[in-house]
């Protein structure tokens, strides 16, 4: 296989809240078109890792590269960098006062400074991609959780990001609504979008991930392709965690 371009590289990332060391030296990289899934127990720093990578939560220590260029944190530069990294939230975080269409458009008009007409066309295209074009004029309060999250994905896609980070995108959803979100994520992965996903959905991880990262206590315990990490893990903690999560969510 040809060598693919590196999209994101993280080296030795540290983050503490008071004496609580949430991240203790995380390093990872993700290449164009790859899907990496981060799994691990709650309170392990998975979500913190994503917010640190986006400087929504600036790391205490560590270096981050985007497309081979190191990110030097500054108020001015950071907005440009965030534009290139889509973020999909556990609680959707759709803008409550805007319609589905408005949610997808607002980044195009206010951040990328596109003309209204152009922004509307792009936004409709992205809503169609996630099967939400029919709900374009509806407000978040009128949509189901699954529909809201699909709009959240369209909102991230509209910015034409280099990669999209998902922070437990289905954890706040009823089981019957998870499918529509996971299906859309799978579609994106197959289309070649670069994805970094924190999730407990092992079915998705197994089917879609190029690599699975098992994280615990702010450290990466083990990383590898699904065949290896799920079927044949090396570390004792990985085995224990996988057993626990299989008991909870069942084999699929």
């Amino acid at each position: 296989m040809e060598e693919r371009k590196e999209i994101l590289r993280v080296e030795d990332l540290h983050k503490s809240y008071g004496t609580n060391k949430v991240l203790q030296g995380i390093s990872l990289n993700i290449k164009q078109g790859q899907t990496k899934v981060i799994i691990g127990p709650s309170g392990t720093g998975k979500s913190t890792l994503l917010t640190c990578v986006n400087y929504l939560n600036p790391p205490d220590k560590g270096r981050i590269w985007l497309e081979g260029e190191e990110i030097i944190y500054s108020e001015r530069e950071i907005n440009k960098i965030r534009q290139k990294k889509g973020f999909v939230f556990q609680q959707f975080n759709l803008f409550n006062h805007l319609t589905a269409l408005g949610n997808v458009m607002v980044g195009l008009t206010e951040v990328l400074k596109k003309k209204k007409k152009e922004a509307r066309e792009k936004a409709m295209y992205e809503l169609e991609r996630v099967g939400m074009a029919d709900c374009a004029e509806q407000y978040p309060a009128e949509l189901s959780g699954g529909q809201q999250q699909r709009v959240g994905i369209a909102r991230a896609l509209a910015m034409d990001p280099l990669l999209i980070m998902f922070d437990e995108p289905t954890s706040a959803l009823d089981p019957e609504l998870m499918g529509e979100v996971l299906d859309n994520m799978t579609k994106l992965a197959l289309e070649g979008m670069t994805l970094l996903v924190v999730t407990h959905e092992m079915g998705f991880a197994r089917a879609v991930a190029d690599d699975i990262i098992f994280m615990e206590n702010g450290r990466i315990v083990e990383e590898g392709p699904p065949e290896k990490l799920i079927m044949n893990p090396e570390k004792k903690r990985t085995i224990e965690f996988l057993q626990k999560i299989t008991q909870l969510y069942g084999e699929d």
Binding site: N54, R82, G86, F87, F95, H97, E110, V111, Y139, E142
Partner: protein, 222 residues
């Protein structure tokens, strides 16, 4: 019947006062609204020095009597070389004072908005300023309509103390007419009725505004 005839006879002159009262209220409320947004945003999102100044401003104007503020502006400021007419003084006092209260209502409204709204804005590359302008304020302003309408009603009624510095509004007209005719109760009852009608009209306006700006998910819960 005689009373009604009296009321009708004084109405044209009171009418002038009503117009002045409405202009005074409108100017004070507009000033208060702009000031409130600046104060609330400055207090919550500004650098420490701005935030502290906004807080002091709010504490001062909420913590001292409105009448004292009006007298300081009208009688006190001229000694610093700042001369305002009685009408302008009244608008300034009511606007500056109400701004402090509305700023606090607005702060409450902003704090009731989920933190994820700001995070989502920043995450897509908005500056904090854009996120406040496009995401936070449009939501907060909807939540602030009910307490704000309260404050507008207060301001309308408080303009009646402007007669104490000689501004020509409804109450000062009433006082002149009442003294001239020696009919105090008859006159002030009528004035009270006029204020009541004005307040009811304002209430209708705010109900309409709330309906017009209604968005699913922003209904005021009963």
């Amino acid at each position: 019947m005689e009373l009604i005839t009296y009321w009708i006879s004084i109405l044209p002159e009171l009418g002038n006062g009503v117009i002045n009262t409405l202009i005074m209220t409108f100017l004070a409320v507009s000033m208060s609204a702009v000031l409130a947004v600046i104060l609330a945003m400055g207090r919550m999102y500004g650098p420490r020095i701005i935030s502290t100044l906004c807080k002091w401003y709010i504490e001062f104007f909420r913590g001292t009597p409105l009448l004292a503020q009006l007298f300081i502006i009208y009688y006190g400021l001229p000694s610093w070389g700042l001369n305002f007419s009685s009408f302008t003084s009244a608008v300034l006092a009511f606007g500056l004072n109400s701004g402090a209260y509305v700023a606090e209502y607005l702060r409450g409204a902003v704090q009731s908005i989920d933190k994820g709204q700001m995070t989502a804005g920043l995450a897509m590359g908005m500056t904090k300023f854009t996120a406040i302008r496009k995401i936070i304020l449009p939501q907060a302003l909807r939540f602030v309509i009910p307490p704000w309408s309260n404050d507008v009603i207060y301001t309308l009624k408080y303009t009646s103390i402007a007669f104490l510095v000689g501004a020509q509004e409804l109450m000062s007209k009433a006082k002149i007419i009442a003294s001239f005719n020696f009919r105090f109760i008859d006159t002030f009852v009528f004035v009270a009725i006029i204020y009541l009608i004005l307040v009811l009209l304002l209430t209708l306006f705010f109900n309409w505004l709330e309906r017009k700006l209604k968005i699913p998910g922003f209904e005021i819960k009963n």
